[in-house]
Symmetry: C2
Subunit: 415 residues, 2 copies
């Protein structure tokens, strides 16, 4: 048996212990985890320095090195996040629904852990702690497949959290950091259907596509966001300006930032010059369709490929559309079912857009940047689902659970 | 493009029309479908006769021919089922949850169709009508991949239902019966991720395994049920006897029938002789473990393979267990997460079993046969899910939906 299968099996065997844990034990362990991260900052940073050293000598990009780097401030955030998770309501055990049939059979639907959750992610060591925290809180075992370039950092964090778990009577085998971080290992991992109940790939679209195409374990696709903001003919243009700037500039590297602005032709002449000028001042490169260029000529021309690109950078496509229908059609063709915004004061336009656009979140008169577990009040999230099965949008605690039916009779037999 | 991809694409393109349908239009169409099935009984039976003729000359088993056969009574049931679906509440549009954040951003979670649902099933023409009815009601497009041996029957039914849809202004392309029913076609179908949002395989475990192992479309596994009934030391033995007889004998060919009886050693001497004698009288072949055979010697011996077999027939394994823990462990090893029953008057035993057994349904003092969409009050079902993602247990209307978030601001930008 490969080391991956052995680790997955250990996590799977621990699920029965996990399902039995009381909320009190889980919360105390999470608080201890937070404390122990704080008191081991030096050790974690030392491990992280190894990864950074290795990354630099392997010519990792500056952006990747930045993501990988842990410092006191970032470790404080990791610790705070664990405390937040401890303070959230435990979703397991909730009786979601219940009813009595005419024959007096009682049926209730009870929220339970999923079992073992597998996570595949890139070189962000903070994900390690978040994923462990969310899994412990929901009574799940977790198997982490982090990037090899963050292995030392992940190991340092995992060791501390496993010890904190064990000190509170939680089976530490419920937390597994895969030792084998090879590419081929991913394929073994996502086919470990006998041990893993759910795989969540977090990262770029090529990672997600590889996982979806090879997995036999059920997966939840996350995070690829080609998000649009449509400025309707009935928009408040000053609100629209603030919103598009926020959606593009506030944090361009994340999935809920905006990649394409769709502008109704009736307000294009008023809106485009001010919007383009403001965005350019903020360092945004603008690309536009023919009609847009007729109003704001000093921009480059969009190609078909541009509409289908998740820039994650200070670049914005602009398209001038004839009707709201055209905006909906454009989103239908190029959207990734993530977050789509409409800016309008007209209720009919808002209703049409909300009903006809197929996305995890429809955002009305606000920035797409709000589509996020924290901003939704979930406390923390495991990613943002762009598929329709199981969970859509931010994956909080509830989304990491399943349910079982309890059917109670008094000797009932079926006729 | 293969004929399969073309048909899947047609269904996908119809999803936008489907999502716009009013409940009234859907219900009227469903009632017309029921009416048109009834008024076309002769045509359907004629088409069915072709399939039967072909089946007989291909030496299909008697059981398969029986499943395949349509007669007036069965067609009446199909028609009634469509009327039942028309009478059920339309789940789409439901506001499942809603809240306002501290910054006054309003978030609501609205139930929406999934999109396009693919179904792969064996030679049961009644599934064709049920699947179409459930999909129309939930605003989904549906692509049916029935068995080649039922093609003429499926085609006759589908034609009638498509016409009824069209007469009510529903895009008939939302209903597709795959013309290509080859084995290789299944693989193309389950990889049509660009058009299909969900695949539900219904049938034997080998079909389900093939689909799960090759699909890139998200799937819901259904139906393989190695269900257990555990008779506790604190059981009411007369109830236990009625229940095990019902769970085994009432309809042995279905997934929620019982395959293994687990008996606590303390009541084994009282219970086993009467249970075995009653079951044998009803034609059940009994296999048992060593301890069981010491009490009721006149039975054959179970092999390890028997515990892992879904008989779907009048055969029952019996194991005498030392403790409830042993019963839970046996189910953990051989169960398929479908339906598991405990017969006991002791609340501690019931609670332990309910919490620790991992299954879609835990049945207390009743027959596992109750785990069924109809018996749960769902009106109709698309199968019984044995996986933990998205939906567990009977798949009714709600389980054929997803949700989207509507986020309403007043010019909100993120800090």
């Amino acid at each position: 048996m490969s080391s991956i299968k052995i680790q997955c099996k250990k996590a799977h065997l621990a699920t029965r212990d996990m399902a039995r844990l009381s909320t009190k034990v889980k919360n105390t362990a999470l608080k201890d985890m937070a404390k122990n991260i704080s008191s081991n900052i030096d050790n974690i940073i030392k491990a992280n320095e190894k990864d950074i050293h290795f990354g630099v000598s392997n010519n990792l990009s500056k952006a990747l090195i930045d993501r990988l780097t842990l410092n006191k401030k970032r470790l404080d955030l990791i610790s705070e996040s664990l405390i937040t998770i401890a303070q959230l309501k435990d979703p397991t055990g909730e009786i979601i629904q219940g009813w009595t049939m005419a024959n007096r059979l009682q049926i209730s639907k009870v929220r339970v852990p999923i079992g073992t959750i597998g996570i595949i992610y890139e070189a962000r060591p903070n994900v390690t702690a978040d994923a462990i925290g969310l899994s412990i809180k929901t009574g799940n075992s977790v198997v982490l497949r982090g990037s090899s370039s963050a292995y030392n950092s992940n190991l340092a964090i995992t060791d501390i959290l496993k010890k904190s778990a064990a000190q509170n009577g939680i089976n530490p085998e419920a937390i597994q950091l895969l030792e084998d971080t090879s590419r081929e290992g991913v394929s073994t991992f996502v086919k470990s259907k006998e041990y893993i109940d759910l795989i969540i790939p977090r990262g770029g679209s090529s990672l997600i596509q590889t996982v979806v195409n090879t997995a036999t374990v059920p997966t939840i696709e996350t995070g690829v966001g080609i998000c649009h903001t449509y400025v309707d003919s009935a928009a408040n243009l000053s609100q629209a300006l603030d919103i598009i700037i926020n959606a593009k500039v506030q944090r361009p590297s994340v999935c809920n930032s905006c990649e394409t602005l769709l502008v109704h032709k009736d307000i294009a002449k008023d809106f485009l010059p001010q919007a383009v000028s403001a965005l350019k001042k903020l360092g945004v490169e603008i690309k536009g369709c023919k009609k847009t260029k007729m109003i704001v000529p000093d921009i480059s021309t969009t190609t078909k490929n541009d509409w289908a690109t998740e820039y994650l950078d200070l670049i914005l496509n602009i398209k001038t559309v004839e009707t709201i229908e055209d905006a909906v059609n454009h989103i239908y063709t190029f959207g990734t079912n993530h977050s789509e915004a409409i800016i309008s004061d007209n209720i009919h336009a808002i209703n049409k857009f909300s009903k006809e656009v197929d996305a995890a979140a429809i955002v009305v008169n606000a920035s797409t940047r709000f589509v996020d577990g924290g901003e939704f009040g979930f406390g923390a999230e495991m990613g943002i689902s762009t598929q329709k099965l199981h969970a859509r949008g931010p994956l909080g605690l509830n989304e990491l659970t399943s349910y079982k039916y309890i059917v109670q009779g008094e000797g009932h037999v079926r006729q």
